[in-house]
Symmetry: C2
Subunit: 323 residues, 2 copies
């Protein structure tokens, strides 16, 4: 499994409907909330997306001119790595697969962040760090790393897509002082809307100007939806409260069966020693994420996303039945 | 003006609201029709967009495996030209600006299709042809050109985004026989939904496999909207009927004041000799598209899109008042 969340394919394999699958492989906010949208799809949207940038500027405390918008963080990552001319990339691994995919025309060096965090990346290379990291959810204090990166003359790509669940400190304030820093921000995860394709890069204006950007990258529906969600302070508050409660609940369930790693995000990495767990859980309508596609890990590691009460109950029951 | 349809900017200039502007610069279907959408934005959409490809396959009579989807035709054009390694591009001009923008890392040669249509493009170059063409709307029989392109070993990009208004013959059937042919298909124009960001490239499977494609390029809202519209045969029928009627009406209005060129699409190119026409019409709440940004043309040429009865009346009145 190269990416989670393809419930459609796996449901079919075991003769279930997609709706019958609880998707623990997909680490997006479990809260459900829809809005009545009044969108006119006929005309072109205001092409600079000023209203959305203005709102993001307030929510993320960042100047509007330091925001570039893409149709999803995946697109942002591809556009960024395609446009950077530097031919060497250092990835702090494990990390999710998009960065390796987007670096396929470059020379990739891996640094194992578990065993070798302060290794020197190649001089002048692009470094990629995801914080909190995937698939384990660990949040790193990056002060020392930033010093190393600066000394090594590195261009830094920092992915903070899982930062908001536990209100960890962002490194957005480093944008003005660090020579060339790009921060990737997905809105699908915390705002719980994977079907809404909007992601951002935060960086200095002169760096954003280099990026290839088609006109009208965003759906008018998506813009209106995200505007509503960003302005919905109750959703943010409820997320943070419920996330804390549900995370504890999931941890308790997982600890009965697995070694569970510490996490600062909305998912847990566990060490599994039960055989055919993926297949057995799938038959019970539960999709999990084996981590064999992550560097330095194998399918003996599994990632579980924090879900709602009902999903946790289903998992608990299934685990009791199977193992 | 590099692209039409920025009513927001121009409305502000003359102290009007965007809604008060009739936008003759934007050449999308004037029909209005919305749908009730039942979209769950939380989960990731089925990542291969099978349902949409299946519907497109029927509507455009093309195998599903020959369809690649992007968030708008602009994105498709950028992805295609970025991924093609050939360094020389021949553009049949005038044509809209996206192709030149997406070719900025290549050597661009222009062929004036008005005066020099059968000039030989450079051997092994990428050729780009828009049919019906912009900004004049002329539909070309391409048989002879395809022979020339084949002899010159050219990779062909053919943009058929304005084909359906007058049900002209597509060259999609050439995909299997021509060595390397990409057909660009926007859905905003004919289906009247510029806020819905979906566009396609039709090509052989092996050629599509080379294109950079982020996962989940499309908004779930947009996919559901386009599915409804593609299946709405009444919308297609009404468009073709009303387009014919409205096009005649617009032509009659324009011919009183300008030299009007023949068109096979939903817009007209005219030769203008009135001074400050753009500013004067803008003050009356009418936005037009001067063609100075098109190669081989200047701001003495203007493009008018076919609109509804009310918009045409407004134009008629304004022209009578001004000139």
């Amino acid at each position: 499994m190269k990416h989670g969340a393809n419930i459609y394919k796996y449901a079919k394999k075991v003769g279930l409907k997609a709706e019958e699958i609880v998707d623990f492989s997909s680490n997006i906010n479990f809260l459900q909330k829809q809005y009545d949208l009044h969108v006119n799809t006929k005309p072109y949207y205001e092409p600079t997306y000023k209203k959305l940038k203005n709102t993001l500027s307030k929510v993320y405390s960042i100047p509007q001119k330091q925001i570039a918008l893409f149709n999803g963080a995946s697109s942002a990552i591809m556009a960024l790595l395609y446009s950077l001319k530097e031919k060497e990339v250092t990835l702090y691994a494990p990390l999710f697969g998009e960065y390796e995919k987007a670096s396929k025309d470059k020379k990739i060096t891996l640094i194992n962040r578990y065993t070798n965090l302060y290794a020197l990346p190649k001089k002048g290379s692009i470094v990629v760090f995801v914080n909190p990291a995937t698939p384990d959810g660990k949040y790193y204090d990056l002060k020392k790393l930033f010093k190393i990166w600066k000394k090594q003359n590195c261009i830094v790509i920092l992915d903070e897509s899982f930062l908001e669940f536990e209100e960890k400190q962002s490194y957005r304030s480093y944008i003005s002082s660090y020579p060339e820093l790009y921060i990737i921000q997905s809105f699908s995860k915390f705002y719980g809307c994977a079907g809404v394709r909007i992601g951002a890069i935060f960086a200095k204006k002169k760096h954003l100007a280099k990026l290839p950007q088609p006109m009208w990258a965003l759906s008018s529906f998506d813009v209106e939806f995200l505007l509503k969600r960003l302005r919905d302070s109750a959703f943010r508050k409820e997320t943070i409260q419920k996330h804390e409660k549900q995370k504890k609940q999931l941890k308790k369930i997982l600890e009965r069966y697995f070694e569970v790693y510490e996490s600062d995000a909305n998912f847990f990495l566990v060490k599994n020693s039960y055989k055919k767990l993926f297949q057995k859980l799938l038959k019970q309508g539960i999709l999990i994420r084996p981590c064999g596609s992550f560097d330095f890990l194998d399918d003996g590691y599994i990632r579980f996303a924090v879900k709602d009460e009902k999903s946790h109950k289903k998992l608990k029951k299934a685990l009791r039945k199977i193992v």
